[in-house]
Symmetry: none
Subunit: 213 residues, 4 copies
C-alpha cells in the first residue's frame, strides 16, 4: 500500500528526462519551458513536481546522466584489446561526428550555467575529474603495453588529450562542413605525435598538413 511501484516511478522519471532532453535540444536551456516539457512527456504541469523539485533539478539530472553515459562509453571503448591510441582516436571521431550543433549548443549552455549554478558546477567538476582519471589510467595502461611514450606524465597527458578531444568537438560548430574533416585529421596527428612511443615514432607516417614536396 505504500509508495506504488518504485520501478514505475523510476521509468516515468526517465521518460520525463528524455522528453526534457528533446525540448532542451530544440529550444535551449532557458528557451524550453516546463510546460513544453510536460506536454512532450505527456504529463500535467503539476505532476512534473512529483518527479523533480524544479526545472534546475531536471537540468542537473540530465547533465549527470549524459556525462555518466559518456564516461561509460569511453571506458568501454578503451577497455577492449585494441591499441590504446586507436581507441583514443576513435573516441575523438565519435565525439566529433556525433556532435549535432544542437547538442553542442546545449553542452555550451550547460557549461555557461555551471559558472552561475553551483549545483551544475559540482556535477561538471566531478565528471571532469573522473574523465581525467580514466584517461590517465588508460595512458598508464598504454605505457605498460609499450604503445605510449613511457616518458609521458599520465596526469598532464590526460589533460592534454581531453583538451584536444574537446577542441576537435567544438570546432565542428564553427568550421564549415568542408573544413571539419581536415581539422579532425590535424588533431589526430597531433595526438598521435604526442602519445606514440619512440620506437613507433621511427616509422613515421607522413606528418599532417605538410605541403607536398
Amino acid at each position: 500500500m505504500r509508495k506504488l511501484d518504485p520501478v514505475k516511478h523510476e521509468n516515468k522519471r526517465q521518460e520525463i528526462l528524455t522528453a526534457a532532453m528533446r525540448c532542451f535540444l530544440r529550444s535551449g536551456l532557458k528557451g524550453a519551458s516546463t510546460a513544453q516539457i510536460c506536454s512532450e512527456a505527456k504529463i500535467s504541469p503539476g505532476h512534473l513536481y512529483h518527479y523533480f523539485e524544479s526545472k534546475e533539478a531536471i537540468i542537473g539530472a540530465l547533465s549527470e546522466a549524459y556525462l555518466q553515459t559518456a564516461a561509460e562509453r569511453f571506458r568501454a571503448a578503451v577497455g577492449g584489446d585494441r591499441s590504446v591510441i586507436n581507441a583514443i582516436l576513435s573516441e575523438m571521431d565519435i565525439q566529433a561526428k556525433g556532435s549535432q550543433p544542437a547538442k553542442l549548443a546545449l553542452l555550451f549552455e550547460v557549461f555557461a550555467e555551471s559558472a552561475r549554478n553551483p549545483e551544475i558546477a559540482k556535477i561538471l567538476r566531478t565528471y571532469d575529474l573522473s574523465r581525467r582519471g580514466v584517461m590517465a589510467e588508460v595512458l598508464r595502461h598504454g605505457q605498460r603495453r609499450g604503445e605510449i611514450d613511457p616518458k609521458l606524465d599520465p596526469e598532464a597527458g590526460a589533460t592534454a588529450v581531453i583538451g584536444l578531444v574537446d577542441a576537435a568537438k567544438a570546432m565542428t560548430l564553427r568550421a564549415s562542413r568542408s573544413d571539419v574533416k581536415k581539422v579532425q585529421d590535424t588533431f589526430k596527428s597531433i595526438l598521435t605525435g604526442l602519445l606514440r612511443s619512440p620506437t613507433q615514432k621511427a616509422t613515421k607516417s607522413t606528418p599532417p598538413f605538410r605541403s607536398r614536396p
Copy 2:
C-alpha cells in the same frame, strides 16, 4: 538645424553596451533583463530602444565589438618584430589568463545562441574566418622569416593553432586552479613542436610533461 550629437550618441551607446556587458557577465545572456541593463546604464526602460532595436541587437553589438577587439589585439601582437611563435604563445597566454570564468561562460552562451540565432551565427562565422585568415597570414610571415616550418600548410596550420588556443582557454573553466598552468604549458609545447622549423628543432628544449629522468 544643428545636428549636435553623432559623437554624444555614440558615447551613450557605448556606455549602454558596457553596462549591458556587466549585466550579462553577472547574470548571463537570458538571465540579464533589459530592465537590469537600463538601471545599470542609468536610463529609463524605454530609452534603451533609442539606441538598440532589441535585446538581441545589444548582444549582437557586444559580440561584434568583443570579437573585433580580440582580432585587433592579435593583429597588433604579431605585428611587432618579435618572433612569430612567441607572439602566438603570448596570445595563448593572454587568452587563457584573461579569461575570468564569467567571461568564458558568457562566450559559451553566445556560441550556444549562435546555434539558434542566425544573426549571431553570422557574426561568429565572419569573425572566425577573419581570425583564421590572419593566423594563416602570420604563419606565412613566419615561414618567410625562417621561424616556422616551411612544410607546414598555412591554412590547415591556422585552424590547428586556433583550435589549440581555444582549447587552452576553455580548459581554464573546468580545471582546478592549480592545474591551469600545467595545461597551458602543455599546449604551448604542442604548439611549439608543431610550428618550429627543423633547424630550430635540432636544439630541442625539454619536451613537455615528460617524467623527469
Copy 3:
C-alpha cells in the same frame, strides 16, 4: 484519472468573454487592456492565457459569438408563422433599438479591424454570407406564401434588405435622438415598398414621409 472539467472550463471561458465584452464596450477594442479584462473577470493576468491564446483570440471569439447569436435570433424570428415582411421589419426594429452607442461603436471597430486582421475578416465574411443566405431563403419562403413580390430576385433582394437594416442601425449613432424614430419609419417604408407583392401593393398604406396634404 478524472477529467473533471470540460463544462467548468467552458463556463469560465464564457465568464471571461462577458467580462471582456464589458471592457471593450467601456474602453474600445484597443483601449481595453488584458489587465483590465483580467481584473474584470477576477483572474490573474497570466491566467487569461489558459483560456485564450491572445487578446486577438478573445476578440475573435467574441465576434463570432455575437454574430452567431444575431444569426440565430433572426432565424428564429422569421421561423414562426408570422408574415415574412413583418418579421423583417421587426428585425430592423430590434437591430436599431437594441443598439446602444457603445455597442455600435464596438461593431465599427471590429469592422475596421477586419480590414487589417485576416482572422477577423474571415469571421465577418462567413457571417455575412450566412446572413445573406438566410435572408434570401426567407424571401423565397415569402414568395411561396404570396407575401413577397415574386419578381424579386431573392439574392439581390437579400443584399438590399440587409443593407437597409444596417443603414437603419448605423443611423442611430449619429442622428439626434428625436430623429431616430423618423429614420426608422422611413426605412421600413422603403423596405415594405420593395418587398410587397403587387396584390398587396394595391391597398397601399400612406407612403412614407410625404408632406401632409
Copy 4:
C-alpha cells in the same frame, strides 16, 4: 520679427496632416504612432507639438478637414445645372467607388472613436447636420424644378438618402467584389423610386433585380 511666417506654418501643418493621413490609412487610428507620423512628415518627434497639441488633435483636424472636403465636393456636385437625381446618384457612385477598404476602415474607427471622445463626436455631429441640411436644400431645389416628388418631406428624405448613400458605401467593405456593382444598382433604383416625381414615374424603367419574365 514676431511669429515667423504664418503662411509657412500653415503649410507645414497641412503637410503633417497629409502625412498623418497616410499613416492612419496604413496602420489605423491607434496603430499609427506619433513617431511614425513624424518620420513620414520628416519632422522631429518634439516638433510635432508645435503644430498640434496632441495626437487626438491631429485626428480631430483630419476628421474635420475630410468631412469639410466631402461636404464641399457634394455641394459642388449638385450645384451645377444637372438633374438633381442624377447628381445624387453620381454622388453615391463616387462615394462607393472611391472607397478603398483602408479609408472605410479608418472612417469606421473615427465613428467608433466618436462614441468615446466628445471632441470627435462634436465634429461628426456638426458635419452630419450640415450634410443633412445641404441634402434637404438640394431636394427642395429639385422639387422646384419638378424633378423630385413634391410630396416628399425634404428633411426626412434627406435623412433617408444619406442613409442609403452610406449603406452603399459600407457594403463595399464586406460584399465580394463581384457583388458590389449589383448592390449599387439596387440602391440606385431604390433612390430613384423614392425621389422621382409622379410624372416621371409613369415612364418606369425596368425595376431593379426582378427576375427576367
